[in-house]
Amino acid sequence: MITIVFYILSAITLGTAFLTILSKNPIHSAIYLVLCFFSIAGHYLMFNAQFLAIVHIIVYSGAIMILMLFTIMLMNLNKEDERHKPILSRIAAVVSFCLVAFVLLATFIKAQPALREYKVSGQDYQSIQVLGKVLLNDYMVPFEFASVLLLVSMIGAVLLSKKEHINS
């Protein structure tokens, strides 16, 4: 049962991911990508990681994709006027996609883990409480550090888009 769900979800994930890439209209891409993110959230739910799934939806679908959509619309890019890459480049892209997929998959298939048993600790490790504890105790430093990251990107975004005044 759960396996079937997994396969269905996976198919959706991969399919929408492909569609994201293949659709000509960036708006369509964005929509497909949102779908893809939702399916990934589905995967998270299957892991019983509800908090993560929600955060995922909020951040990716809610923030990042919206930002992208805004940009697309601001720039009036919702046209299917993208000229295709030269055919040679596209073939190269397809070939290298096949190659990289083959290499990675082959590597992973070759690298079957020795043990096939999965431990079940029975402990709660992914509830909000636990995550909060881990995040704000063990991972307090990176958590704070992430603020620097966000600050940088903020300053950066401002710096890059700020119209310059002939200033004092």
């Binding site: 550090f145 940088v152 990107s153 300053i155 950066g156 710096l159 890059l160």
Partner: protein, 469 residues
């Protein structure tokens, strides 16, 4: 940890100072602050108990995130020094964009925190955040002249490829986590390599690839020359000095800590090292843009630094890498100080702009010459010792062939370094004689100080080497 806080604090101060209209104070305060932090780092290196302030940062949980060993501290000191130079150069460089000055300075400071996190991490999350802060700051710096088409292109290229590389790094981290169940480097390092699933090795290789991109090693180097050329010169200076050695040091630390037991891994690194040296040097031969040339030269230097992975004694390897990085970056800073001057007075960085510099600005020409000689590995400049220590280490491991390649590359490198020197000393300036604008004080000061430090550590390599030991 305390270093990170201090520097991030400095960054905030910058931003606040702008709000309070203290623009003039930003740079002096920052530089002074950085030098203060540098002194602090120095004290930490030499004191027995690194936790000088007694804030408990060397205990749980901080120790799981940031570890202040000599390697980390030494490199931190170098990064702080470099940032001090870069910040000092900023006001002159951005004199037409005074409003943005605080942003630039703050970004550089945050970039510094990222760099320090990258080398003092003891948890992969810190590493990842550090490298991302560094990268994102650099994307911004690369694109920081939004009106300039070249700067746009550079930023875009760097961003797209950098994000791509970040994905690969992240993938590698995930795999390592999958194999070990931990992000903590100490825990991972203590594990039995043979018992780990081979995801671990794949993850290590992925990380390697990602970091190869950051240090611009062949075949992940394509971005470097383009971005170096397109970015504003000061950003290029940052990339080619601070960012490059930060990535390299972090790479070194990461790989030596992860220590994958993998046949062919070191061979791969060696091949990449040789390729980087060779291609970097060959491509640099025909360049006419100095920034671009230095970009290719940086690729070859990355190749040299990759030789540091051939070691028998980790401490010495660390010391040698640090020395090389120190020598290379100081030469780079000195060179870029001159490039900044030329580019501001001539409007571009083409080689012909340097014509006749030996006559018009002998000091600048002399500094640039010294810097180039150092990069080329001519003694008494520290670049020579950097190379020599690396060669020594590699030969100690018995990898003769690598050294031979490195040597052949050193020969090729002379070709383009001397092209620039030739231009300065044997060609007449194309411009007419009234080119009598004086060199801004900060440029010459930074150039001279940097090159003096470079020569100084060449005269007394012990100063640097002993930091690690």
């Amino acid at each position: 940890m305390d270093i990170l806080i201090a520097i991030a604090g400095l960054g905030i101060i910058c931003l606040v100072a702008e709000i309070f209209n203290l623009r003039k104070a930003i740079v002096p305060v920052t530089v002074a602050g950085l030098l203060g932090v540098l002194a602090f780092v120095g004290a930490k290196i030499f004191s027995k108990n690194p936790d000088i302030l007694g804030l408990g940062f060397d205990k749980e949980p901080y120790i799981n995130m940031i570890i202040n060993d000599k390697f980390a501290l030494s490199f931190s000191a170098l990064f702080i020094l470099l940032t001090a130079f870069l910040v000092a150069l900023s006001p002159e460089f951005h004199k037409n964009h005074k409003a943005k000055l605080s942003d630039f300075v703050a970004i550089k400071l945050f970039l510094l925190t990222g760099a320090i996190a990258m080398i003092s991490f003891s948890n992969l999350s810190m590493f990842f955040l550090g490298i991302e802060i560094l990268s994102i700051s650099l994307y911004i710096l690369a694109a920081s002249n939004p009106k300039d088409v070249k700067s746009n292109e550079a930023g875009m290229k760097y961003f797209l490829m950098g994000a791509f590389a970040s994905g690969i790094i992240l993938f590698g981290i995930a795999l390592i986590y999958g194999a070990t169940g931990s992000f903590n480097m100490l825990t991972i390092n203590a594990m039995d390599r043979e018992a780990l699933p081979s995801w671990y090795n794949i993850g290590a290789v992925m990380l390697t690839i990602g970091l190869m991109f950051k240090i611009a090693a062949v075949p992940f180097h394509f971005w470097a020359p383009d971005v170096y050329e397109g970015s504003p010169a000061l950003s290029t200076a940052t990339m080619s000095t601070l960012a490059k050695v930060a990535a390299m040091a972090s790479f070194f630390k990461l790989i030596t800590t992860l220590n994958p037991h993998l046949p062919g891994f070191l061979t791969t690194i060696n091949i990449i090292a040789v390729l980087s040296m060779t291609i970097g040097n060959l491509m640099a031969l025909k360049q006419t843009n100095v920034k671009r040339m230095l970009g290719f030269s940086g690729i070859s230097h990355a190749g040299y630094m990759l030789l540091a992975f051939q070691f028998r004694d980790l401490t010495f390897a660390q010391g040698n890498l640090f020395y090389y990085a120190f020598a290379y970056t100081l030469a780079g800073i000195a060179a870029f100080a001159v490039v900044l001057y030329v580019s501001s007075s001539k409007g571009n960085e083409e080689v012909y702009s340097f014509n006749g510099l030996g006559k018009t600005k002998p000091l600048m020409a002399a500094v640039l010459t010294c810097a180039l000689l150092s990069m080329a590995g001519i003694p008494i400049f520290s670049g020579f010792f950097g190379k020599m220590f690396l060669f020594n280490q590699v030969l100690d491991k018995g990898r003769m062939i690598l050294v031979v390649f490195a040597v052949i590359n050193s020969i090729i490198a002379v070709g383009y370094y001397f092209k620039l020197i030739l231009a300065m000393y044997s060609k007449e300036s194309i411009e007419n004689k009234e080119d009598n604008n004086t060199v801004p004080f900060v440029y010459s000061a930074v150039a001279v100080i940097a090159i003096l430090i470079n020569i100084g550590i060449g005269l007394c390599p012990e100063l640097i080497l002993q930091l690690m030991r």
